[in-house]
């Protein structure tokens, strides 16, 4: 057999062997152990509401009013704490960012519009709206908002639901994920878990 052909045959057999070990055995082993040791996490940290799965603790959701006209823009539901803007409308089949540049006029306009809309919606001074409320996340599925943005929404949710603001502030404290080990990343308030707790108040 010519050397050229022999080298390629060796390469092919090596690739198939590696595919069996690294492409099949390895992920199956990791899946097996994960499913035995921490099944809830390996299956996506699903949370339930009224006994039915209502999403993942890790994946952000939109909290909009029911759509009557599918072409109309989504309107936020004032009874819920609102998440950050999302480039993909919190659709996990289309994760991603806006990719608008730092000097983009489109982004500049979007920030100004969001600032005005949120200030009106929450009844606050436009200057106090925090940056995470004005910018879209990287994944489009960010489950968190800053504590500042959660606090800013308290009065609106309290008014809409007839719950004392004090009680909502307490729930925010309970559902704030701090920095892991005290210094890793940034932490924030998990919006879905906060809203689940709000719903449980009735």
């Amino acid at each position: 057999m010519p050397a050229f052909l022999r080298t390629h045959l060796t390469a092919l057999r090596m690739l198939l062997a590696m595919t069996a070990i690294l492409g099949l055995a390895y992920p199956l082993l990791v899946t097996g152990i994960s499913q035995l040791a921490f099944p809830a996490r390996a299956d996506g940290s699903i949370v339930e509401h009224d006994g039915k799965p209502a999403g993942s603790r890790l994946i952000g959701q939109a909290f909009d009013l029911p759509q009557t006209d599918p072409d109309a823009p989504a309107r936020p539901d004032p009874k819920w704490f609102q998440p950050r803007p999302s480039a993909g409308g919190y659709d996990p089949t289309a994760s991603g960012a806006s990719n608008l540049g730092p000097t983009s006029t489109d982004l500049l306009d979007a920030v100004a519009e969001r600032r005005a809309a949120i200030a009106a919606f929450d009844g606050v001074d436009p200057a106090t709206v925090p940056p995470d409320a004005l910018t879209a996340s990287g994944s489009g599925l960010d489950p968190h908002i800053s504590v500042a943005y959660a606090r800013e929404q308290v009065n609106r949710v309290a008014r809409e639901r007839g719950i004392p603001a004090q009680q909502l502030n307490h729930l925010i404290d309970r559902h704030t994920d701090g920095r892991p080990l005290g210094f890793l990343g940034q932490g924030g308030v998990n919006v879905l878990q906060l809203n689940l707790a709000v719903a449980a108040l009735g």
Binding site: R13, L22, G44, G101, L184
Partner: protein, 553 residues
């Protein structure tokens, strides 16, 4: 704790963890690259594959083995992607077009992991596991194998043998990458990274809407995606996606994983050439550039310059709340200085200078610390150039690690450092000259130019990250960037292996009073200066038109 001390502590913890692993991991890699013993399982594998494991190869044979293995990998992956609609676990994804399948096959084989597709809507689980993740392992192993051959060129004398590619590939995959991946995949899964074979699970959200929760064997792929400096995300949002990177803890773990092998390899180098101080000098240069870049990107992102970011009050566009500015900047600098290209935040929305630095990081040639293997061979080629420049200044024949650097060696080194800039600048120039390709930019003006420059820099340096606003799933971009990845990967490999062969043949030259010591601060300074000058002179005009123009505007 405030954001600033937390950011510093995070970086210090990372450096500490990397420093702890530098020695044991570097020694482990040196051991597996030099040991004469085969494990029983490996012997069985060699027998099945038909490899004579005890026969070392001459450099052309080593090169042919690398190229044959990579070419078959491209073909196999291409076939798998094109046929995936007929395979198990395809989740009903549509058939991928030929140009995009070519681009993806090349991308994963060259350790680039540029993605012109979106993971959750284009790839079934079987292709992710048996196609993409396998290349995550073996493309990383190929990089380490090539640098092993180069280091043997320095450490061996008067021989034409540089090692056995099949043995190197097997040992690096099975004794290094696989066990570390199993361990960290489990740690990631324990912290919320999903690991299952589900498709999309429909749920009714709290406010009554519908949402599809994705599944997949993500943790197993995530671990090797970072450990092998690959960077191809299971999902479109890559490591910004909460299922790939759920917490600040997994985030630091991911940055650690993508840096740990490249920062350990200088120890392997020092050990194999029998002088640890040589490895220290190399790791010092890598560390200097990495630290400078991480600090500067963080500084610019905290400043949040740029009209839109100023209006928002912080550079949080494209960044996740759970990571914030510091952890996003640390990830960005690390991923672009290695050949990883995974992202936990979207570089297109970074500040002009912060984003510009991520392009500059890649332009350095991905040597600080660079990709698995490719980072060290890039740095050693630049060390050869630095020694040569010093030789010119004092008028002596230059020598490095006891090997003379003559005309032949310098030709290979020069060709190496010319390859990537040529691909980047010609590719960017062509794209900008063609009206249809210009239309692919999302942003306009200088930032749009940066998107194109970033794309070719990323492809030719086998990074894989993007200023992702640009639309690259067109026949032209898929083909052109695919070619940039192939040439950017394999031409340097040819020159490195040729250099290895030429060094191995020589008899060692004893050090004399005129020999330039290649350890210690003087050499670290010289090598750093050579890196900066080579890159600066080559890319300054292009950078001036893109990020610098935008930043000074």
């Amino acid at each position: 704790m405030g954001a600033t001390p937390a950011g510093w502590l995070q970086a210090i913890a990372l450096v500490g963890a990397l420093a702890l692993c530098h020695r044991p991991l570097g020694d482990h890699i040196a051991g597996l690259l030099t040991s004469a013993r085969h494990l029983r399982a490996e012997k069985a594998l060699y027998k099945a594959v038909g490899v004579d494991a005890d026969a070392d190869q001459r450099w052309p044979v080593y090169l042919r083995s690398v190229l044959a293995f990579s070419a078959l990998s491209v073909l196999f992956l291409y076939g798998l992607i094109r046929l995936q609609t007929h395979l198990l676990l395809s989740l009903g994804v549509p058939e991928m077009e030929a140009h995009q399948a070519w681009n993806t096959a090349v991308s994963f084989t060259t350790n680039t992991n540029w993605q012109s597709y979106s993971g959750e809507s284009a790839m079934g689980h079987l292709v992710q596991m048996a196609g993409l993740a396998v290349q995550n392992f073996v493309s990383a192993a190929v990089g380490i194998a090539v640098v092993a051959a180069l280091v043997r060129g320095f450490s061996r004398h008067r021989t034409d043998r540089v090692g056995n590619f099949w043995v190197d590939l097997t040992r690096i995959s099975l004794r290094l990458l696989l066990p570390v991946s199993v361990l960290f995949a489990l740690v990631l899964a324990a912290n919320g990274v999903v690991q299952n074979f589900h498709g999309f699970e429909q749920v009714t959200t709290l406010s009554g809407g519908q949402q599809s929760i994705p599944g997949g064997p993500v943790a197993s792929q995530e671990a090797i995606k970072l450990l092998g400096t690959n960077g191809g995300g299971f999902y479109n949002a890559n490591s910004a996606h909460p299922f790939e990177n759920p917490t600040g803890f997994t985030n630091l773990l991911e940055v650690f994983l993508l840096l740990v092998i490249p920062f350990a390899l200088p120890r392997t180098f020092g050990r194999m050439v029998g002088d640890h101080r040589q490895g220290h000098a190399v790791v010092a240069v890598m560390g200097l550039f990495w630290a400078a870049s991480a600090v500067l990107v963080t500084f610019f992102e905290h400043q949040h310059s740029g009209s839109a970011l100023q209006a928002a009050g912080a550079a949080m566009e494209g960044k996740e709340q759970r990571f914030g500015v510091a952890a996003s900047s640390l990830f960005a600098a690390s991923t672009t200085l290695t050949s990883t290209g995974a992202v936990n935040s979207f570089h297109d929305s970074f500040t002009p200078f912060g984003g510009g630095l991520t392009v500059f990081d890649m332009m350095l040639g991905e040597i600080a610390p660079g990709g698995t293997g490719s980072g060290l061979y890039g740095m050693l080629v630049l060390a050869v150039v630095a020694v040569f420049v010093a030789g010119l200044m004092v008028g002596r024949t230059p020598e490095y690690l006891g090997k003379k650097l003559g005309g032949r060696e310098m030709k290979f080194a020069s060709l190496y450092i010319l390859t990537t800039p040529t691909i980047v600048l010609v590719g960017t120039g062509c794209a900008i000259a063609l009206p249809g390709e210009r239309a692919g930019m999302l942003n306009d003006g200088a930032h749009g130019f940066s998107e194109v420059l970033y794309a070719f820099t990323s492809a030719a340096n086998n990074n894989g990250s993007a200023f992702a606003g640009i639309t690259v799933n067109t026949a032209w971009y898929d083909t052109a960037l695919g070619l940039a990845m192939v040439f950017g990967r394999f031409l340097p490999v040819v020159f490195v292996l040729a250099l290895a062969g030429s060094l191995a043949r020589q008899r060692p030259v004893p050090a004399s009073a005129g020999t330039l010591p290649t350890h210690g601060p003087l050499f670290v300074g010289l090598l750093s200066a050579v890196v900066l000058i080579v890159v600066g002179l080559t890319y300054f005009p292009a950078l001036a038109l893109g990020p610098i123009a935008e930043g000074l505007h």
